[in-house]
């Protein structure tokens, strides 16, 4: 687990609180609640969660795992309530669908003494979770912006596709804009492609109709990059030099590795962070290792030189 190693050396804050005074022989249950695989990144995240559960069940026979996927926040709340009521979970690993609606229910679980690990999306109220594992959204945008600055001449014209309107999207865009500020790069337009291939295709077609000169596209997500690339190819436009996606879909990483000029780079936002979170939580349950705190997984720039180490052939994403 590359990322686990990475994290263990980054931001480990020691927790002074003693862990559970548990008898190690008793079976303990870890509940995992994540959004359903409704887009590529979430699909990858689901894959890594399941893989982690399978592996950890073998490593730790004294642990039981309950995995539930939810397609909306209220379903997720029900899932969590069910886990507490019927499985008596000892720890909860949750990737909140949305921050606000999940804060109260998760707090209620925490108040019952259950260990809480929050992944990726923070709750609205600080201090509820024992462990926080997340990607770095402003950093994701910043790394993307810095790459644009380095890859484009001054005065380069860029269009950007945004995700589903959420805090994550806002943080990324803010980071991006901060990074390109003062560089002379001109953002011609930003529209929501909703992290969806078809929507991105449509939006890009219209960008191409609207602007006769586009130097590069910040697709901000590899699913959207697929749609963007198809639209550019169909329009036969040679002015677009490259498309910068994000999150490290394996097909895109492979194109970068193979030096495809249209896909020269990528920015990571690893869906495997869920596996790390589950693993650390499991470790905390079975041992006395101090694992509480915040783990922020930085977004890395993927280039043809280092692409190989970000390529996971078995992942669906």
């Amino acid at each position: 687990m590359k990322h686990l190693a990475l994290m263990a050396t980054t931001a480990l804050t020691l927790s002074a609180a003693p862990l559970w005074a548990q008898e190690a022989e008793e079976t303990q249950v870890i509940g995992i609640s994540i959004p359903a695989a409704t887009h590529g990144w979430a699909g990858g995240m689901n894959y890594f969660a399941q893989a982690a559960v399978e592996r950890l069940e073998e490593v730790y026979p004294q642990l039981d795992f309950v995995l539930a996927t939810a397609s909306d926040p209220s379903k997720q709340v029900s899932d969590i309530e069910d886990m507490v009521a019927t499985r008596g979970i000892d720890a909860l690993v949750v990737l909140p669908f949305e921050s606000e609606p999940l804060t109260g229910p998760v707090k209620a679980v925490a108040d019952q003494g259950v260990w809480i690990t929050v992944v990726d999306r923070g709750l609205s109220e600080p201090g509820i979770e024992d462990l926080y594992v997340a990607g770095d959204n402003p950093g994701f945008g910043r790394v993307s912006g810095e790459y644009m600055v380095s890859a484009l001449p001054e005065g380069g014209k860029v269009v950007a596709l945004r995700g589903i309107p959420t805090t994550i999207d806002n943080e990324r865009v803010a980071g991006f804009e901060e990074a390109i500020a003062g560089s002379g790069i001109e953002v011609l337009g930003m529209e929501h492609g909703n992290w969806n291939r078809d929507d991105a295709f449509t939006v890009m077609q219209d960008f191409l109709s609207k602007h006769s000169q586009i130097d590069a596209v910040w697709a901000s997500d590899d699913d959207m990059a697929v749609g963007v690339l198809a639209a550019i190819e169909a329009a036969g436009r040679s002015d677009v030099k490259f498309v910068l996606g994000g999150a490290g879909m394996k097909e895109m990483i492979a194109r970068t590795r193979d030096s495809d000029p249209m896909v020269p780079a990528n920015v990571t936002y690893p869906p495997s962070m869920i596996a790390s979170a589950i693993e650390i939580t499991a470790l905390g349950l079975v041992s006395d290792a101090p694992v509480a705190g915040r783990f922020i997984i930085g977004s890395e720039l993927v280039t043809p030189e280092n692409a190989e180490q970000y390529y996971f052939p078995d992942s669906p994403f």
Binding site: A36, A37, T38, H39, G40, A42, G43, G44, N46, Y47, R162, P165, G189, M190, E191, H192, N196, R197, D198, F201, T202, V203, Q205, D206, F207, L208, S209, K210, D223, V226, G227, A230, A234, A235, E251, S315, P316, F317
Partner: protein, 335 residues
């Protein structure tokens, strides 16, 4: 002698309201086109028009089938999921066949046959449950909507099914190519729309759909095989979903659980904007085509202009949909 007169409380004869009822959607479409042309000179360019028409074609093809279903008093919420499932199935089958048959036309033809067959079967399943099992159409198709959505997620293992790269070359022209400068999706949409319009206006089938949607008891007492006609509307819709999927897959060469999300609502919205009555009994295919174009153009216009915050795109769409329907409402003072 007795002079027969209209009953009180009803407008006497066709008044001016009827014309607006007919022209409402066209007026809305013209307003959009004029607004678009004024806002952006590229709006009326060949490339932009082709883009809008081609990407409206999937919803359009499905909406033509939906017009018949709704006219006959039914509803189908499953078409978006069905399209995703068929797309996934089609990609899976074609990828499996590439090693043995090579990445050529024959594999694509098999893929198309799979799409049409799956569409027919899925439509038949919906229709059978609704007519023979007598379950509410809303419930049946809500159920199959969930089923197909889950199936495609399962087929794709939570991720994305991608078409073999070799096949994309061969299959791509079905979306990107065309005849005499008109791309294939547009041609297919046009053909489906014309056949649909003829079917609705000129055949016994279309007349039966309207009669069943108005009052299925009257149809039954008039020796119409109500169940068979209803079943056929769903089968036809399933087949059209298959055709739409055949046009969709070559565009991005992939299917995932996010494929076709909300297509059912867009198709239903297009049908209603076009003047077909949601409760059944009256339908017009040309109106549906206009409705599809209106929806496609709104999206396009909002992307081409910076007048409104992108956050408000949905609101603009909603307002235009409601306006289009108000425009074509019949003028009935006493309800």
């Amino acid at each position: 002698m007795t002079t027969q007169v209209t009953r009180p409380g009803q407008p006497a004869g066709p008044g001016h309201g009827i014309n607006l009822h007919v022209l409402g959607p066209i007026v809305a479409l013209l307003v959009l086109i004029v607004a678009g042309a004024l806002m952006n000179p590229n709006f009326l360019s060949y490339a932009n028009i082709t883009n809008v028409l081609a990407r409206s074609a999937f919803i359009g093809i499905i909406a033509v089938g939906m017009t018949f279903v709704i006219t006959a008093g039914g509803l189908d919420l499953s078409v978006g999921s069905m399209a995703a499932f068929i797309a996934g199935l089609m990609i899976l089958v074609m990828n499996l066949l590439v090693p043995s048959m090579g990445a050529g036309i024959s594999v694509i033809l098999v893929g198309m046959a799979v799409a049409l067959g799956a569409g027919l079967l899925a439509g038949f399943l919906n229709g059978f449950l609704i007519t023979n099992m007598r379950i509410e159409a809303f419930i049946v198709t809500l159920g199959t909507m969930g089923i197909y959505r889950s199936l495609v997620t399962w087929l794709a293992d939570g991720g994305t099914l991608s078409l073999d790269f070799g096949l994309r070359e061969a299959y791509g022209p079905v979306y990107y190519g065309g005849l005499l400068g008109v791309s294939w999706p547009i041609i297919v949409f046009l053909v489906v729309a014309i056949l649909g319009e003829i079917g609705m206006r000129k055949t016994a089938f279309g007349r039966y759909c309207a009669a069943i949607g108005s009052n299925d008891q009257v149809a039954r007492y008039s020796s119409v095989d109500v169940n068979r006609i209803r079943l056929l509307t769903y089968v036809g819709l399933g087949l059209l979903v298959g055709i739409a999927t055949i046009m969709y897959v070559p565009r991005l060469g992939s299917a995932s659980s996010s494929t076709g999300v909300l297509w059912e609502l867009e198709a239903i919205a297009a049908v209603i904007i076009g003047g077909t009555m949601l409760k059944g009994g009256f339908g017009r295919v040309w109106g549906t085509v206009v409705g599809v174009l209106i929806l496609g153009l709104i999206d396009n216009l909002l992307n081409l202009t910076d007048w409104v915050s992108p956050y408000l795109n949905g609101a603009i769409q909603g307002v235009i949909i409601v306006l289009a329907v108000i425009l074509q409402r019949e003028n009935r003072p006493e309800g």
